[in-house]
Symmetry: D2
């Protein structure tokens, strides 16, 4: 039984993670942390956990965490994580990090997009990006896994195979993504106040969303070329789900059939990617770890449509998939 | 042209009020106040007002407000209003107050339910309750009108005629109300954070919602007897609309037909109350100043169902209806 | 491994049932039926099942079904089920029936509320009502289980303990229930057309909803007295969830504490009922087999609030709970 | 007072049209048609019109309609309208047509995209496209106006100024549009069944949506060049609103400032187009005839974001705007 600590357990990804791990036969959650002083039972913060998990949130340092856990899932904000991870690793923990702190290879890129110095820059470039469909082998033995962002997961899974096979141009890629509002987190903001965002729809962070360099870096690695995207995220009045519509230029002749065949072949043995003929809806993936992908050709432009549940395949499901790989469980356990 | 000031113009009722008044031929909004220091243009706070109203929010005292306005709509919180109203009235303004400060007749009841001393207790009991369907004549000349609460409007309009006619018992009345989330205001709270309340449904403030004494007082006046209700409000995942299902005991024999006839007769000349045979939905009243009411008899219990748009008939539409009465306009102007 | 057939597999309860059974270690879905002629793969009807269940819908008679299945879950409409069940039982199948056909004890009551003759009237009164919290022992060996209706589950679990203990009067009980729209099924209707029901709220079937006699019968059995309710269902713009607010009269003196203690004691060993101090929201139970219950006292009236996921504890989760009991599995398996 | 007939009055655009015209001082609705045989009162079909419009739906031919109306708004389906319009025009009516029948100039293009022969092909190319911002002068005296499609309105208003000024390339334009579900009409379909589409998001009709040739034709006229777009519509779980995100290539150097200046100058005198600095949300335009537009530059690609209420500026509001122009009223009357 692997002992689990979850850092920053008050948010939605932590809640989803707890729910998944409660069904995991080889994981025991021993520790939940939060900066709150009052040490409330987790069920007071997440009423849906009533009678399911009898733990209190605690404000603990890395040494205490390491004494209670073999594997640490960190749901802390960007910047905070990197100040703790070295201590956890030194103390022998393996870490799955939900923040962006270890996703980028280059501390300058991090500083440019996240507006802060990186506190553990030397580790950048040596941390595996926790997308099993691309980096499974490296995840298995990794002490530290950078769990992918939600938008990046939906975009990378759709485009990586086509870039790898040289079927699309690596530049002039337009990614128009749409996300449900749980993706904006649990921190109170006017933009996620019900009567503001319900029955409305808007774009945000055009040209400056922090998932842009992450998508480009991973696709550049996958395609072994310099990938450039224009990324436009939108907020959709629903709880969960991301749908990414990507437009790219074909290299040579393509057809819908060829695109779908390529995707199908690439993901033939993947348990959580479904290449489908129909146009998928986010609800098809809600509550699951699946990513549904299809492709079309319109006026000599390649369109890919991909969707996920942002809290599962886009966060906590992916984290458990990584955990399963790291600890030798069947990759689909509890998912 | 009546010059209008709106106090506390950042919330949803103020926004709705502005939108209605912009269509009013005899109202000119001259002043918008807010405690914000920065004096932003109203369109920055409410983007839907872009190019429609070229005013800034200002942090003004009652003297300044009175110098610019004939009629003041106060959308300030409970407690704050009563500290300003005496000054506004002394300066010659007429005031339509959205808060609960002048709705109750008894300062002790106010203090018990609102948890604070009333700063203008001597005026209580002398202020007209701005429900034209019951108190039209008193509104016409009133210097100060206490605009009704949203739940009370839906409940009182359904039950007052039946109490007045002695068709239902004044006690053991159960009111099960359901409201959309704009009723909870624009202040950020976890309960109105999108990913918390969307796709969920819950009761709140059972037995201690502040609209309870307001409903009881007005129904007691209407029925000339001591009315007692059990009031249970619920939050519904939608922007707007209140539906109140009330259960009361008949006095003597009743039938659905007799109930509907009584309601129809009572509201025969009312422009904004529709007594309907079908079971109304809140959407039938959305964006309008209507209250739709029907009645049923089940196992010798009288059921009334009534619905309104909480921001219009439940707040800003009612306020403009009062304004029209106070200033001699057709009661339906701009509504 | 128990072989499973699901009759009427195109609706939402069947979909939810399939998803649960796919996680069940001792259940193998072998057969899915539908009256459709074209035998489509189930994933064409429910795209979320793509790559998860490789079966086609078939239009099969009871003999064929019985040859392929040990246990039959029937999600067929009222009336249809009772014409098939005798054949399935004769052929040795055990049956869990989602329809109302075997819930009522009296064929006359059935005919009065469902407007049709019952085709298997002699069996009525001998079929166990599949609510394990009340009838666990009888479920274990039952050849046929009548799976409870969604509203009844939420209402009965809240009131049965209080009636059993004689804490509330069995008559004059008012039940004001609110349900998400999946409860209305997958058949196209104007009332469940998105642009009609979204952002709206209405009552329906007042005084004549078919769950009324079901609730009364089971509560009468539980309380060993003649229970009468006034039942008012409402449609809420959300996918899932039922919240029932019930108002009853106390017998003798009650307090919130005493009510909660009684409920807690009654459900002390129940895995799927959570008695909570706070006011529960339907989202707390979404996607789970839990029923959350609390109680309040207001003006000497007992209020109970209970909520469930209508598709899980209100249908398919309860069915699997029954299946687990019938086949000797841990009651919580796959739930 | 202009006498108005509305053909096909059971749908959402007709309902919205009626609501707007009820506030119009110079329009009297005399006639509502539908193919229903039973001649129900309009309030039975649209309960929100109770006590507001006392007319029945009638199944009338064009002669009867023409005898009762000066101006006919046709909300009939594609194909049906063109069989009636010639008769209405011959009888002296002026017609505002909501269908696509007279939007395209070329009957072959119509037949290719709409899959049917055009029954009045000679008139094509001579009918004004009812977008006042581009074709105001031609609308004023037009006997027949082709009211624009909802998506086209949002896209054309954003791109036409930039094409006219030669600031963007006319080809390789990608338009990623998102629409609320009222745009799909009132006809029952599984795709608009609440429990299917709520909390979900999907693309549809990729590469073959019928608004594609309409957008291209009008933009080609506006830009005096051959415009080609890739158009991807998406369904969003909300009632109303369209947001179109368009990606185009700049000609020469552009900046956000220059784009916004160009748009502002172009629409300087337009009452219903607001060029805004912020990223607009559809809710800013809900219930209004406004189109909000902004622009950005990302990696040398021009992004425009535009939004409207699909039922108002995208249908019935635009129709009344055209009506006002045709009958010499202030263009904003009742809007």
């Amino acid at each position: 039984m692997t002992r689990i600590a979850i850092l920053g357990a008050t948010g939605y990804t932590a809640l989803e993670l707890i729910k998944i791990l409660l069904h995991h036969p080889d994981a025991e959650i021993t520790t939940l942390t939060s900066r709150q002083e009052s040490n409330p039972p987790i069920a007071m913060v997440h009423p849906s956990l009533t009678d399911r998990l009898d733990l209190c949130l605690e404000n603990l340092g890395p040494t205490e965490v390491a004494s209670r856990a073999d594997c640490v899932f960190s749901c802390l904000p960007h910047g905070v994580t990197a100040s703790l991870v070295p201590h956890l690793l030194d103390a022998g923990c393996r870490v799955i990090d939900f923040s962006a702190d270890y996703r980028l290879n280059d501390s300058e890129v991090f500083e440019q997009w996240y507006g802060q110095k990186h506190s553990d820059p030397d580790r950048l470039g040596k941390v595996v990006y926790g997308l099993p469909e691309l980096f499974r082998e490296d995840i298995i033995d990794a002490p530290l896994v950078a769990n992918p962002g939600c938008y990046p997961t939906s975009v990378i899974l759709a485009l990586a195979p086509l870039l790898k096979k040289g079927m699309i141009k690596p530049t002039e890629i337009i990614v128009d993504s749409k996300s449900g509002l749980s993706g904006a987190g649990r921190t109170l903001k006017l933009t996620t106040h019900y009567a503001e965002c319900n029955e409305s729809l808007s774009a945000y962070n055009i040209g400056r969303h922090r998932h842009t360099p992450e998508i480009e870096q991973i696709l550049s690695t996958a395609g072994n070329t310099n990938v450039e995207i224009i990324f436009t995220p939108h907020l959709i009045p629903m709880d969960r789900g991301i749908l990414s519509t990507a437009y790219s230029l074909p290299v040579g002749e393509v057809s819908e059939e060829k695109l779908l065949d390529t995707l199908r072949e690439f993901y033939a043995n993947e348990p959580f990617v479904r290449v489908v003929d129909h146009l998928p809806g986010t609800k098809d993936t809600m509550g699951t770890n699946y990513c549904d992908i299809t492709a079309r050709v319109v006026r000599n432009r390649v369109l890919t449509i991909s969707c996920i549940d942002n809290l599962i395949k886009g966060a906590s499901g992916a984290a458990v998939q990584n955990f399963n790989l790291m600890y030798g469980h069947d990759e689909t356990t509890a998912l």
